[in-house]
């Protein structure tokens, strides 16, 4: 069973969300990826205003409507607009079908401005996916590091966090989040460097390692290869490829009455 934590509608042909989803799922099918999590619309907006946030989330809602049996959605929020973000959370998660939130690079995530957003997500048991990088070339001003996420997660011990991209420089990212149990790492969106999964399992345990691709910007295949090629037990591999994500989603799916 393969579930992909991290997909986007950008970087695909197609005029409508439905057309783009059909493209995305055709590639997913070729590699046996059963379910995907989708967030953000197009074109990429690093600091969307409330209208743009809503427009992009509408694109994802539209995408989900045709694929509710195989796709989950995370709502894209911008902590530079907290009230609008809380309204979007209500609309897309509490009253809508989405099951998590996506935070990108508008504002560093250790900022206390995020607290009401995280509190709302925790209340609903929604997964919080935070993009993180340690870029050798330097982060964007609003781009969080894994350490920023650690600061946030320590204030919200009951929330479920994903450290996106494993921090890119994963030898640093894995170490950074090691001591904080409610942070798992997402394996998508960096080059398929061998050894990442082995180190993650060694330092975090397999239950805190989650497969995601960052398709369609990344190749499903290149990213899946990190896990398929790793020297880990089959039991651990299965957790990473889908078991962990299913487990993380179970509470919110149950409360929505859509649990599998």
């Amino acid at each position: 069973m393969i579930w992909d934590l991290h997909c986007h509608l950008g970087a695909l042909p197609g005029r409508t969300p439905h057309e783009r989803m059909a493209e995305l799922m055709a590639y997913a099918d070729r590699l046996g990826i059963e379910r995907v999590v989708v967030f953000m619309g197009w074109p990429h907006a690093v600091d969307p205003d409330p209208d743009e946030m809503r427009r992009q989330n509408d694109q994802v809602l539209d995408a989900l409507s045709h694929w509710h049996d195989r796709a989950f959605g995370f709502v894209y929020l911008n902590p530079n607009h907290v009230d609008a973000s809380l309204r979007e959370f209500q609309r897309c998660v509490v009253r809508g079908p989405m099951v998590g939130i996506k935070l990108w690079v508008a504002r560093r995530c250790h900022d206390e401005a995020l607290d009401p957003i995280i509190a709302a997500a925790t209340e609903q048991r929604a997964i919080i996916y935070q993009h993180t990088w340690y870029k050798t070339t330097g982060n964007l001003e609003g781009e969080s590091t894994p350490e920023n996420l650690v600061a946030l997660a320590r204030r919200h011990p009951r929330a479920t966090f994903i450290c996106g991209h494993s921090g890119g420089n994963w030898e640093l990212g894995i170490r950074a989040v090691r001591s904080v149990d409610n942070i798992s790492i997402g394996l998508g969106g960096f080059d398929p460097t061998a050894g990442v999964v082995e180190m993650a399992v060694r330092e975090l345990g397999a239950t805190r390692v989650v497969f995601g691709s960052d398709a369609a910007g990344r190749s499903f295949g290149s990213q899946l290869g990190k896990v398929i090629g790793a020297e880990v037990s089959d039991a651990d591999r299965n957790l990473i490829l889908g078991g962990n994500l299913e487990q993380m989603l179970t509470p919110i799916l149950r409360s929505k009455g859509t649990g599998s």
């Binding site: 590699l31 070339t137 890119g168 960096f190 061998a194 499903f220 295949g221 899946l224 990190k226």
Partner: protein, 262 residues
């Protein structure tokens, strides 16, 4: 059957890798039906005694698997008397392909040092593998930073040197622009490996833009997971002809063409 054009022995300078022992790496390749592997050495990235690196590589390939391994020596044209390394690779070791790392050795393809190297490679009928990237710039060790190689100057070289044959390893898109790729592959003497191609269906996307004759299989193992390259092939819907061309025939043909040069 697979010919993997982008493999390295020896140690990556900043990390131990699951397959950085030849035995492990060769077992991995054998498991996936790799019939030919073009092998360079990570030592060549930083060592200045490149002659010794090439000699060890030659010996290791002979001992480990004479049938399947194609040793690919390194030339660093910024070193004193690099011409002697080239002579040894060609005459002594009988190498048919050589690997260069302009990003790590500190020169550009329109520099003086590249000019003589490219001219000599063309004269000797040696396939030049130009390593555009070994690693994403964003994940490099802070003390081992190298920018991606701009291959645009190659367009002029391909025109000037009709005997020059080049394979670009680790080109990243969109950094390497489509107009540049287009012009290079239209010469029929430049191929690209797929090790750093990204995007859902990236292999099919390449074929649609540049045709299937210009792409070769390169895993960049052991730094990259070998399976990643394999799954990129599986991800794209390919005809049998295209599959075979990319997995083995394009690379093999490029070497064979050179063997036929006068």
């Amino acid at each position: 059957m697979i010919v993997d054009t982008n493999v390295h022995f020896d140690r990556w300078p900043t990390r131990r890798l699951p397959d950085d022992e030849p035995k492990r790496l060769l077992a991995r390749l054998a498991e996936h039906d790799v019939a030919g592997a073009w092998v360079g050495s990570f030592d060549a990235v930083l060592h200045r005694d490149v002659a010794a690196v090439n000699q060890r590589l030659m010996k290791l390939c002979r001992i480990a698997d004479r049938e399947r391994l194609v040793p690919v020596g390194t030339i660093n044209p910024t070193l004193p008397d690099w011409q002697e390394d080239l002579r040894r690779c060609a005459e002594l070791h009988g190498m048919r392909a050589l690997r260069v790392y302009p990003g790590y050795h500190g020169y550009a393809l329109d520099d003086e040092s590249a000019a003589e190297l490219l001219t000599e490679a063309a004269r000797l009928g040696i396939l030049l593998q130009i390593v555009a990237n070994l690693e994403d710039e964003r994940t490099q060790h802070p003390l081992l930073r190298a920018t991606g190689v701009d291959v645009e100057p190659l367009i002029a070289w391909m025109g000037r040197l009709p005997e020059l044959h080049v394979m670009v390893l680790g080109a990243r898109r969109p950094r390497t622009r489509p107009e540049v790729i287009e012009q290079l592959v239209s010469t029929g003497r430049v191929t690209f490996d797929l090790s750093m191609l990204e995007g859902a269906g990236c292999v099919a996307g390449w074929i649609e833009q540049f045709g299937h004759e210009s792409l070769v299989f390169g895993s960049h193992a052991p730094l990259f997971a070998f399976e990643s390259a394999l799954l990129k092939i599986a991800e794209s819907p390919l005809g049998e002809l295209q599959r075979r061309a990319i997995l083995a025939e394009n690379a093999q043909r490029q070497l064979d063409q050179l063997a036929e040069l006068p």
